[in-house]
């Protein structure tokens, strides 16, 4: 029994991790007033980049870094459109969701002889498990805590982003720009700079999220690897009321649903895994219905800011 709980908790953490990365990205971007519906595309490109660099260099950390840069590159496009050129942020995000998977598969075919699936990374070249071998194998603590380093990093980043947003100067400015850009502008804060910073950072995080799938949870990239995690991360961010710690809890919920699906798949219990997989989405809707109205996102989220607008 304890082992089962351990297994579920362990898979929950593992599957929540990519979501946490991406949701944190969403939190940063939206707090600065830019809706980032392109997280999905950024994750996809990050996943491909991580798997590719990981395969060719054998260095998981370099792979993770490159995945972040790839996500950041797409985010830069999003920022150019939505910050500099006042684009509709949702439309621009949708374009990113075409471009991300498009570029990812294109590159995959280039680097892997026309295949849309990258070659597997050797086990020892994946993201390491720092606590591997500390606990007896398959014991409760081993199942729960013996995780890929990305898992710990993601939780650490939740704290870092919380600290940044609520305790530092840059965070105060990011939130001010997201709430009332004009007020920030009149105080001499460079809105464009803050938004570029936030959006690019959000892409980097989404890229990390993609890599957390492709070089930790599994060991290669394939077309269906990122199918909806970016959107779930978006939901988690809203669910978590645009706060890092809130988004984290929401991601854990989604991760837990995944954990249960996998757990039940290995047992004889006759609950449809399809219905179970549906559950997180239904819960999200129910929660949106019950708490919406009391909590809204940053006031200026989604509004392009134009200097000197009259």
């Amino acid at each position: 029994m304890l082992d089962n709980i351990g297994f579920i908790l362990g898979t929950t953490l593992m599957y929540a991790t990519p979501l946490i990365f991406a949701a944190l990205g969403g939190v940063i971007s939206e707090n600065s007033g830019v809706v980032n519906i392109g997280l999905e595309g950024m994750m996809t490109l990050g996943a491909l980049m991580g798997a590719t660099v990981g395969y060719f260099t054998g260095n998981p950390w370099l792979a993770l870094l490159c995945a972040g840069l790839a996500g950041g590159f797409l985010a830069l496009l999003h920022a150019i459109a939505s910050v500099t050129f006042g684009a509709d942020q949702i439309v621009s995000g949708i374009a990113i969701n075409f471009l991300g998977p498009g570029i990812a598969l294109f590159l995959s075919r280039l680097f892997f002889e026309g295949a849309t699936m990258t070659k597997s990374i050797n086990l020892e070249n994946k993201i390491p498990r720092p606590l591997g071998g500390v606990f007896p194998q398959n014991s409760f603590f081993d199942l729960v805590l013996n995780q890929y380093a990305t898992v710990y990093i993601s939780f650490l980043l939740v704290f870092v982003i919380w600290y940044m947003l609520y305790k530092t100067k840059i965070g105060l400015r990011i939130r001010a720009v997201g709430e009332h850009p004009k007020a920030a502008d009149t105080l001499g804060i460079n809105i464009y700079k803050i938004r570029y910073f936030s959006v690019i950072l959000s892409g980097i995080f989404a890229g990390f999220g993609g890599a957390a799938m492709s070089i930790a949870v599994v060991s290669n990239f394939r077309p269906t690897l990122i199918s909806g995690q970016g959107f779930i991360a978006l939901a988690a961010m809203i669910f978590g009321k645009w706060k890092p710690q809130g988004a984290m809890w929401a991601c854990l919920l989604f991760g837990a649903a995944q954990g249960f699906v996998i757990f039940l798949g290995g047992t004889a219990i006759a609950i449809s895994s399809q219905l179970l997989a549906m559950l997180p989405y239904i819960i999200t809707l129910v929660i949106l219905i019950s708490f919406v109205g009391k909590s809204v996102g940053p006031a200026a989220s989604g509004d392009p800011y134009e200097k000197g607008e009259r």
């Binding site: 305790k167 939130r175 709430e179 007020a183 920030a184 009149t186 006031a299 000197g308």
Partner: protein, 513 residues
């Protein structure tokens, strides 16, 4: 008036011209303000006062012209440079981040930090408190903006400027949203500030305030500087004439007439505002046929909620509204429209028009589902077009093109489209909410004439305006609204500004008729 007269020039704006596209907002304006002086900028809505100050504050760059601060030329490329040069601006619409605390708003952009970029809130709070005491600007540094009064928010705005070491303070329409008591407090604060050698520029179109606090006044009309005068030797009438550019005819021509039956009867109405507070709080009122009933009051005393409640856009908590003896409480906007109530809404661009619809489409906004405009759900384009053309002729809407988008019309013509539409409904009650806001003098006269004509057809008119002059000149009777209640109703010709002003501030009362 405290003429300290330190003849030291704090601000000099020379030959300022600002062009937006093909629209000249400011044309060759010269403005000089000395230390310790209160300088008023007077002009009608849209005259270019705010543009001029946005240039001084670095939000816009002048097309031509030069700015000197303390005798040195400065290029105000952005607000940062203005702030560095000791300029602070309090915008008409406050630039405050609602979910932030008072202190967070004050320090934003000039934060004190400790290690790791951590905000040093304690340090900031003590600095804010120091400033509060020095200038008599009491605030709670830990309160959130969304929880404090408008007057308090204004103090935060002033503190924001002082925190940045402002020596030159620009106040854009500072009294528009204040109660008389708050206005008095503000005047005291301004005196405190000038005593310390700071100079203040006030943007306003209220003559009385200029007489009360300003030393000098620069009048701007349609982007041009008309004059700069010494306030102590100028009368309000002179200022008014310079502002509008001709003799101001304050009196609206209308015949005496006796009021008829009660058309609208409101009984003990309670309506909540967006924050859930009773904005209309036990209000009772009767409007008769053949009269214009004006509602006077300071902004935010429940006027907006009252109108929205009457026309069905806001939930009514309790009380009753009757239209010609028919209960319309809690009906849908459509049912209320059909009970012969028409409205000229307060915000014509938000409520009155679909700006991206053509003029003809806007003309049928309330009647699109009726014949002849449609039959069985299918629109009759020809009939709609014919109807629109007719109204454009009758109401002299320009340009004469019914296919033009409403967005492309001037404010006055947009208002005419609304008036045309509303009056063709042949309403028994016409509600006019701030019907002349932002319009030029010609359009204002047109609107007033339309209201009087409606009254002369023995219809009821309910006029809600924040401009006391307008209410006094147009209405037959004046009801004063204060904190969601009617605190007094007086005959327009039997009252004066002082009596009304007292009631608007919650003191005194008229006699309910």
């Amino acid at each position: 008036m405290n003429h300290i007269k330190v003849e030291e020039k704090a601000v000099e704006m020379k030959n300022i011209t600002k062009v937006f596209g093909n629209f000249t907002a400011n044309e060759d304006i010269n403005l000089t303000v000395h230390k310790g002086e209160v300088h008023a900028l007077l002009g009608e809505n849209g005259a270019g006062k705010t543009t001029l100050m946005n240039i001084l504050y670095g939000l816009y760059q002048p097309t031509i012209g030069e700015i000197m601060i303390n005798g040195k030329t400065v290029i105000m490329a952005d607000p940062n440079i203005a702030i560095q040069n000791g300029i602070g601006m309090v915008h008409q619409h406050f630039m405050l981040v609602e979910p932030f605390t008072v202190t967070e708003n004050i320090i934003l952009g000039k934060e004190t930090t400790t290690s790791f970029g951590k905000l040093d809130i304690e340090e900031a709070v003590s600095h804010v408190q120091e400033l509060s005491e020095k200038y008599g600007l009491y605030v709670d540094p830990y309160a959130k903006i969304q929880d404090i009064t408008v007057g308090m928010q204004q103090r935060v705005e002033i503190l924001k400027a002082l925190y940045r070491g402002a020596e030159i303070l620009i106040l854009d329409e500072p009294t528009a949203v204040l109660t008389p008591q708050e206005i008095q407090d503000l005047i005291d604060i301004i005196r405190n500030l000038t005593k310390q050698g700071k100079c203040i520029i006030i943007i306003t179109h209220k003559l009385k305030e200029i007489k009360q606090i300003a030393d000098y006044c620069t009048i701007i009309r349609r982007g041009k500087q008309i004059d700069t005068v010494d306030v102590s030797v100028t009368t309000e009438e002179e200022l008014a004439n310079k502002m509008v550019g001709r003799e101001v005819n304050f009196i609206v021509g209308k015949e005496e007439r006796t009021k008829g039956e009660v058309v609208l009867e409101i009984d003990n109405l309670v309506i909540k505002d967006n924050r859930g507070i009773n904005a209309v709080d036990g209000l009772s009122l009767k409007v008769h046929a053949g009269e214009i009933l004006g509602i006077a009051g300071i902004d935010g005393n429940g006027q907006r909620e009252l109108i929205e409640g009457i026309i069905g856009l806001r939930k009514i908590e309790s009380g009753k509204i009757c239209m010609i003896q028919k209960d319309i409480t809690g009906r849908t906007p459509k049912e209320i429209l059909e009970s012969k109530i028409s409205t000229i809404p307060e915000d014509r661009q938000k409520r009155g028009l679909v700006l991206d619809f053509s003029v003809e489409e806007n003309m049928i906004l309330e009647n699109y589902y009726k014949e002849p405009f449609s039959r069985k759900g299918i629109l009759n384009k020809n009939k709609i077009n014919y109807f629109a053309k007719e109204l454009i002729q009758k109401f002299d809407i320009r340009p004469e093109d019914e296919t033009l988008k409403a967005r492309a019309l001037s404010g006055g013509n947009q208002q005419k489209v609304i008036i045309a539409r509303e009056l063709t409904n042949d309403p028994e009650l016409l509600i006019a909410a701030q019907p002349t806001r932002g319009l030029d003098v010609g359009a204002i006269e047109y609107v007033h004439k339309s209201l009087v004509e409606q009254r002369d057809k023995n219809k009821a008119v309910l006029l809600i305006s924040l401009e006391l002059d307008e209410v006094m000149n147009v209405a037959d009777r004046i009801a004063v609204i204060y904190e969601g209640k009617i605190v007094g109703i007086v005959e327009a010709k039997e009252t004066n500004e002082n009596a009304l002003g007292l009631m608007m501030a919650g003191g005194g009362s008229g006699n309910e008729k």
